[in-house]
Symmetry: C2
DNA sequence: CTGTTAGCGCTTTCAC
DNA sequence: GTGAAAGCGCTAACAG
């Protein structure tokens, strides 16, 4: 513990409000008023306090203020990992929005470990934070409602699985986004369009699948189950799935991968097999993460407004913390197709 | 403000240590002892307390504990932006290390705005955090010493510019890493090797330049100033610099870009000009961020132990906070060359 | 072993 | 306008 006397005014150690009060010859209450910009303070007192504050570089201790005020100005954020542009963009958006509210973010990567997620959530609730943003939580609805039961406020970003109507949440328009992607492929003339999905049961998978099937059905393409391969949202999974699709007797001329990493896996396989993208095979991804713009060829993909989602979640949470009722608990942000180089008409 | 009575035991609102004490028929001191796992408590008292704790789901309020204990268990982290794998990997490493110490991270993106960085640092010092990690700070040595003067503990990760010997810091071996990269190119037979640097004055630039020049000098290659182009560590900057180098009367057969983004810019230009990488031009980057492994061709680059740097910084900070003296204030972690597809012997 | 008591630093009635 | 005083929830001496 660093304990040093404050003999000189160099602020070797921080002043307390008590010391400022003494130095300024007023009470702590007055100092508090000045610090918080209250109007009911004489100009004389204000001057005296400000002089000391300036001279010694006093700033109020937020922890103490938090204890007294009943809130900390801190928001917890749990997420699987950070070093994936999908997450870091969301976080950056959220951090920016929080900054505007003069709040800060306590970051808690869970590394996909469920146990850790639980521990972290507990800690967050222990008075360290006022509320939380849960990104892609592994949490079950049960565990989430425990939080609610404790009066803890939070907003879910992109839930893995369906959650209750009453749980605040923000996500992107999976289904329509997927529909758009497929329509783009259809418009180019593709009819055999493969799909590489995420784990079944996940909202992202089911909804995008719905969009995919819907778009196909809309133009009367007969659904072919062998064209739908389940995967895991990682590049290697994308490679495996691509192999499977390309080994089909009648392989697809285009593949719609349910996220960018899967799409990158597909492109890697295509390259290894000497297939030209988009000449021999068109590829579409989902997310529009940074990688989509730097791979060769650049990837046509469905853009999720990631930063926006982060900002929106914060704005929902802030309202929740202010005790305001929120009209729409489930917010769905629109997606848009970003056409780049990985798609073209099928080779005749 | 959410204020609710706690009529039922559903924990609609959190219990205080006082309430637990009453419920268990003991004093708050005893509850505190039990909670903190002290040994000097009778089995009987412990049971009583644990029963209440379990039944009502009591957890200690960290803010209050922090006020009383004099520390918060929170560490601030400032960094320019998050959505760049360079940063997110460091952060992830740091978060992991902090987790092991049961500490959390308060994230503060500065968006390269100096003013914001100052504000954020001030806030962090206001009792919210015990110390901080400053990544790529824009801060001058002066401002940093203000922090020190206030008794605030922090460690710098990868300082932009030279900082005092006394300021704790961790970075990677820029110079030797750059040397290795150039030696690799030299070994492949290249003699005209261009360099695309970062802003001059930055440690990363100057040190890597030193490594580059040193390696060249070691084999007696006559230095050619026109082969060194200053840039800004971004892809577009890399493109511009590459244009300049390739437009030279006697263009280089290999380019050593001082980070991966610059290298990607170089590859984009090469592609646009119809040059084969590595056939017509070899390219080496620096950092080994995720992108290096997914571009086409995959990028040969100097690997910085980013996650390790995050972890190391935390371990330094933890020691600082514990009041321990640190032997080596400046820690330099080793780099290693990762050879991928973007380098080959020069075309005859 | 256990309770009493005094803070930690700040905010906020409530009188004067 | 301003100060005294009572907390916010927890920890830690200090008695017993």
């Amino acid at each position: 513990m660093v304990v040093e006397t404050d003999r000189d005014g160099n602020g070797r150690t921080r002043l307390t409000i008590r010391q400022v009060a003494d130095l300024a010859g007023v009470s702590t209450a007055t100092v508090s008023r000045v610090i918080n910009g209250r109007a009911d303070v004489s100009e004389r007192a204000r001057q005296a306090v400000m002089r000391v504050v300036r001279e010694y570089g006093y700033t109020t201790n937020r922890t103490a203020r938090g204890l007294s005020a009943g809130h900390t100005g801190l928001v917890g954020v749990t997420l699987p990992i950070l070093h994936h542009s999908y997450f870091s963009v969301i976080i950056d958006g959220a951090a920016e929005a929080l900054y505007e509210h003069d709040m800060r973010m306590v970051l808690c990567p869970t590394h996909h470990e469920h146990e850790r997620e639980v521990t972290l959530l507990e800690r967050l609730m222990q008075g360290t934070t006022d509320g939380a943003l849960l990104i892609l939580p592994e949490e079950s609805g049960d565990e989430l409602s425990t939080l609610t039961a404790h009066g803890y406020r939070f907003v879910i970003i992109d839930p893995l699985r369906p959650i209750g109507e009453r749980v605040p949440m923000v996500s992107a328009a999976h289904s329509s986004g997927a529909g758009e992607a497929v329509e783009h492929l259809l418009a180019l003339g593709h009819r055999r369009i493969g799909a590489i999905t995420g784990p079944s049961g996940w909202i992202a998978t089911e909804e995008r699948l719905r969009g995919y099937r819907g778009a196909l059905a809309a133009v009367g393409v007969i659904p072919d189950p062998s064209l739908e391969v389940e995967s895991d949202f990682h590049a290697v999974g994308g490679q495996l799935a691509a192999q499977q699709l390309l080994d089909l007797p009648d392989p697809p001329t285009a593949i719609f991968a349910f996220n960018d990493m899967l799409a990158i896996g597909v492109m890697q396989v295509a390259r290894a097999r000497g297939l030209q993208v988009p000449g021999d095979l068109s590829v579409v991804g989902f997310d529009d993460t940074f990688e989509a713009s730097i791979v060769t060829p650049t990837l046509t993909t469905v853009r999720q407004p990631l930063a926006e989602m982060g900002r929106m979640a914060v704005s929902q949470l802030v309202r929740l913390l202010a005790g305001q009722r929120i009209e729409a608990l489930h917010v769905e942000l629109g997606t848009s197709l970003v056409v780049r180089e990985s798609t073209a008409p099928p080779r005749r």
